[in-house]
Symmetry: D2
Subunit: 294 residues, 4 copies
Amino acid sequence: MKNVPFKGIIAYPITPFDTNEKVDLPLFEKLVERLVVSGSNGIAPLGSTGVLPYLSDEEKEAVTEATLKQVKGRIPTLVGVSNLTTEKTIYHAQFAEKAGADAVMIIPMSYWKLTDDEIVAHYDKVAGKISIPIMAYNNPATGGVDMSPALLKRLLEIPNVTMIKESTGDIQRMHYLRKELGEDVAFYNGSNPLALAAFAAGARGWCTAAPNLIPELNIDLYKAIENNELREAQDIFYKQVELLRFIVSKGLPRAIKAGLNILGEDGGCLRSPLKPLQENEIKELKNIINNLKN
Amino acid sequence: MKNVPFKGIIAYPITPFDTNEKVDLPLFEKLVERLVVSGSNGIAPLGSTGVLPYLSDEEKEAVTEATLKQVKGRIPTLVGVSNLTTEKTIYHAQFAEKAGADAVMIIPMSYWKLTDDEIVAHYDKVAGKISIPIMAYNNPATGGVDMSPALLKRLLEIPNVTMIKESTGDIQRMHYLRKELGEDVAFYNGSNPLALAAFAAGARGWCTAAPNLIPELNIDLYKAIENNELREAQDIFYKQVELLRFIVSKGLPRAIKAGLNILGEDGGCLRSPLKPLQENEIKELKNIINNLKN
Amino acid sequence: MKNVPFKGIIAYPITPFDTNEKVDLPLFEKLVERLVVSGSNGIAPLGSTGVLPYLSDEEKEAVTEATLKQVKGRIPTLVGVSNLTTEKTIYHAQFAEKAGADAVMIIPMSYWKLTDDEIVAHYDKVAGKISIPIMAYNNPATGGVDMSPALLKRLLEIPNVTMIKESTGDIQRMHYLRKELGEDVAFYNGSNPLALAAFAAGARGWCTAAPNLIPELNIDLYKAIENNELREAQDIFYKQVELLRFIVSKGLPRAIKAGLNILGEDGGCLRSPLKPLQENEIKELKNIINNLKN
Amino acid sequence: MKNVPFKGIIAYPITPFDTNEKVDLPLFEKLVERLVVSGSNGIAPLGSTGVLPYLSDEEKEAVTEATLKQVKGRIPTLVGVSNLTTEKTIYHAQFAEKAGADAVMIIPMSYWKLTDDEIVAHYDKVAGKISIPIMAYNNPATGGVDMSPALLKRLLEIPNVTMIKESTGDIQRMHYLRKELGEDVAFYNGSNPLALAAFAAGARGWCTAAPNLIPELNIDLYKAIENNELREAQDIFYKQVELLRFIVSKGLPRAIKAGLNILGEDGGCLRSPLKPLQENEIKELKNIINNLKN
């Protein structure tokens, strides 16, 4: 049986900055703690939500260590280690393993569009240098490469590539993965507004930044699915769909920061060129959050 | 309460032709009978599957009358009456009403891309000339126009536009309709591979040509959803998803005709320029159909 | 040498309607006369501009005969005969030949997406039934099918398919046609804002509705190209580019009718669901036309 | 008058690596020298061709200094300084200015899709920290952001943003820039297969990696345009269009390296995950290069 340490709600913390745009580690640790205690089934620092590509190597290492120190094994940790070059990806994957991560997540970042063979070789080289499992992450909107289901199938033949995170927003990809690779394939949904459809299609988990704002609704959706309660799942999903759509359309780091502020929490600053949401956007989010209570 | 005569599996017959490419009405009636007795919850002649735009006015009228004569009110009938001009759409809608149709389906066919106001006026004029309800049909792939959720909302304000058929294959459209228009909105799924996700999202029915080939699997999926049995629905869906994908990718009229032949039924001829599937495609479909029995 | 009767500016008349939305033949003849006397090098009734798909068979025949009667051989005539079915396309192509057309234009209209083999068979069957040349017309935005350069090459192997009209707006298609098929290939530009780039790439002609409004600017652009005067061509093109963009973005039948009215000419009515431009759009067009005089 | 130091053929060197995937500076200098002596009108290190995002800060600085040392002011130098964060972009822009660059090129690199306001603020902050001019570079295929013509217009209001490089491959963007911003706007073409159309539309220069392989054909195209010889330009363009298409479709760093090898030159190694072209691709390029001699 393959090593698949994740199931359910995998929460993505933002990386907050101070007013000088330096990483604010104490605030980061506080945000991680919130995610753990609110019941998330896993935690994933240094994802897109955590603005991985905007950080220096030293900052990535500090965030990795801070996460593992704070989580203390209460839930499994998935560390993002994606990089444009293979050499750097290996470097960060080894760092994460040594720091105690349960798995690493890798998106084939791409400036020059990579061929399928280049992508396979990239994963293969990294996989050969670590012994923890890898989640391959497909997100053409941020990574610039769209991995076909056939390519994802090739990646799963690499021994420690054991999980797929699909963020294209195309439910047919999940149908294909399940149909081609059998009921045991571990695929995860990374497209927030697809949460209900993905669970209905058999997704093992949901990778999401939403637990920073609405952990109960996220976890209750998963529980309804586990209990085979479709109608309840539908109701819970429709309660949160507006918020899910909003945070995706505005960019997760901006939207989560704004949402934390609305909830009375400190969300820190953003790093330029990213800027906070505008007044009318913040007002719109306030309305959405207020409507959740009904 | 609005007049919404459809729920569940709405079956789309093909329009078969003889060897001279004339409509084969006796065969059409036989195919309609198969759909009724196999348990479909509604029937919809002159859809895309029924190659509506390839027929003359006289042929459309003959097919309409043949359907109603054959169905004899056992299940409700939805007649496709779409046309490029408003005048012709009114003509066919009135014919269908007089012939006894329970509702008509209208896609805003478009050579010149229509503005939202033109589309609303088109539906409004037709709606004013008949008293049976209208299903507004959104399918940019065949109709050439993509009606936004906001436009669909405007159409639903016309009194006898009571139903929406969504065939974009984008599950988010259904989320929007349900969220914006409330639990009572009658939306139907017209994208076959989206059947499970659409029912999970609350679709009232599934408009599909698949019952020509696999009526039990289609109806069982709907029953599992009605019984709130998500896991069973998932299993039944994955049994049929390959066939659903195949018939969509090859074009419904071509694929249903080929499938009927494989099942030992007469599917008639196609009208040029449409041609039968090629040998290797027929072989692929045979394999898919054989695998259904496992 | 292949039979290629067209070169330069091929003008597309609109089909005007009276207040009852019936074709207004006397006004049509007047509009055709304007195009001939203003110096167009060819005329093409029943194109997209002429709302071909919105007309009945009888109306198409009347428009064809009216054109040939009015033009009296002063310039060559290209008649649009596209239809969803092969049988009807043959019917109209034969009618056009008998009426005296110099060539017919055929777009593979598509409700169900046609395969390459179906498209080739469609053209082949029509070509076998007439002896005048055919212009194959590629316009995915209105026809629904995008013919690849490789498919266009196959079509040109049919003896009387001698001309290609490219309306994708992608200049690379023209590079491919010229490079693959040699300097003698007769390709025409059907994308108005691409007029300069297409002539620079070697297009033999420009199929356009613009001569209804700005015949001198259209013809002068062609003359500058013929005289190898790139800089002059550039100046003349930039004078008209705003108008070209406007008429394309608003839909040619709507925009030409509005432009004729602004110029003090009768443009007739449109057939529903098409409606006239709105007040602010008409005002925008007035400004563009006034700026032409500078 | 704005400071616009470039015109004609602006050549992009690759960044070659040694067998350990370290930057090979001596080989880089040799490749720069080839571009200078073959008649390029400008040189642009650290572009997409130069795999800027795959390099460390130290490597970028070494490449910048090597270029300026080698060029010795014989032609103007444009240094790529794009970075995901504003802070780093400023850092590299200041380094380039100090090293003696005539201008810097900046693409708004984007992991999270930037708003228009974020992009303007990004350019504005960088522009305020240097005194040499900036070329704003639009290339959604590699940068992930598509800057609208309206946004490019806003950027040109920043005093030292004086040049636009358009690489969308959409000739209409150039028409818009010229029409909106007047004859004096300095826009450059960055889409190789659009070279003829862009010059016809008034582009001031062509940013291209092609001079690594075919400098004479590139420079002769520009000369023909300068001499107002459209037909000659057309002929010269069609001689090189296949090679231009090839190098774009295969990725410039891979294709230029392969082409250099075919010409008997050392192109160095690539940095992983980028890999050399495959045998059949190299053979295809050989055929294209051999055909150039005819």
